[in-house]
């Protein structure tokens, strides 16, 4: 028969799992932002090598809308600013979550040592 996990430990393990899931979701979202940011930087780099007044087309739905290099540069600079801000916000949240995870891991390991002293097991996320 399997031994029941003490409720105190069970609660902390559930919290640990929730934090881990939260971090995974956050990292997925952050990756999307960072990927778009890399793409924006790449386009800005390509645009910088084009002469002024170069015609640029932007896809809007199924249409290619005619615009110019300067308009697109301005558009992308704004987009870059927003993306960088969001990326920094995600970074702060990630740091906070990692700290919380570490603290909770310590707590869980202490409880494991308390309830299962013979195994000396430790949890790692």
């Amino acid at each position: 028969m399997t031994e029941r996990i003490p409720p105190e430990l069970q609660t902390q393990l559930v919290k640990l799992q929730q934090l881990q899931d939260q971090l995974n979701r956050l990292l997925t979202e952050k990756n999307v932002i960072d990927s778009e940011l890399r793409e924006v930087n790449k386009i800005l780099q390509e645009l910088s090598q084009l002469p002024a007044g170069t015609t640029v087309y932007k896809i809007v739905g199924n249409l290619l809308v005619k615009t110019d290099k300067e308009t697109v540069q301005k558009e992308l600079d704004d987009r870059k600013e927003i993306l960088e801000l969001r990326s920094r916000t995600y970074q702060k949240q990630e740091n906070l979550l990692r700290t919380q995870l570490e603290d909770l891991q310590k707590k869980v390991n202490e409880l494991l040592a308390k309830y299962y002293p013979q195994s000396g097991g430790a949890v790692k996320a």
């Binding site: 793409e39 924006v40 390509e46 170069t54 640029v56 087309y57 896809i59 290099k69």
Partner: protein
């Protein structure tokens, strides 16, 4: 349970079969994902190669044929093309009207970047397949041990 002993310092590691099977399953999913990514990257690189080839051909052609759809139900003859300018995809939703040389440069940059990613995916895939093989070997070993024990007992 599987007991693996390290001969040098006689350390024993106990791993449950369930854990190993779960690990193998997770690895299998990861390998599938990597293989899908690898195929997509290869497809992208091939598309870029086609465009580079088309840019080269454009300069030498007097007359071009344009396919009306994927199955080629109708083909148009196209003449009087402006060979001095093409639209090249810069990324996201942007295309720039540039000369073929600049378009070639943009496409080559893209290809280099994708090839580098492809190389990394290839390495990761090889590593994952190796790890999967190791787990499969351990599971086979365990099965053989189990059968041997059953044969003895039977």
């Amino acid at each position: 349970m599987i007991f693996m002993s390290n001969e040098e310092n006689q350390q024993k590691v106990v791993v449950s079969l369930e854990d190993l099977l779960a690990q193998a399953d997770a690895l299998k999913k990861y390998i599938d994902y990597l293989q899908k990514t690898y195929a997509e990257l290869q497809d992208n690189i091939m598309s870029i190669d086609s465009s580079l080839q088309a840019l080269k051909e454009l300069q030498n052609s007097q007359e071009l044929l344009m396919v009306g759809d994927k199955r080629g139900n109708v083909i148009f003859k196209v003449q009087g093309i402006d060979k001095a300018k093409v639209l090249v995809h810069l990324g996201l939703e942007y295309y720039a009207e540039v000369d073929p040389d600049f378009a070639t440069k943009v496409l080559n940059d893209k290809k280099t970047e994708l090839s580098s990613v492809l190389s990394n995916v290839e390495k990761e895939l090889a590593k994952s397949l190796e790890a999967y093989k190791e787990i499969a070997d351990i599971l086979n070993q365990a099965q053989q041990q189990l059968q041997a024990q059953q044969n003895k007992g039977g």
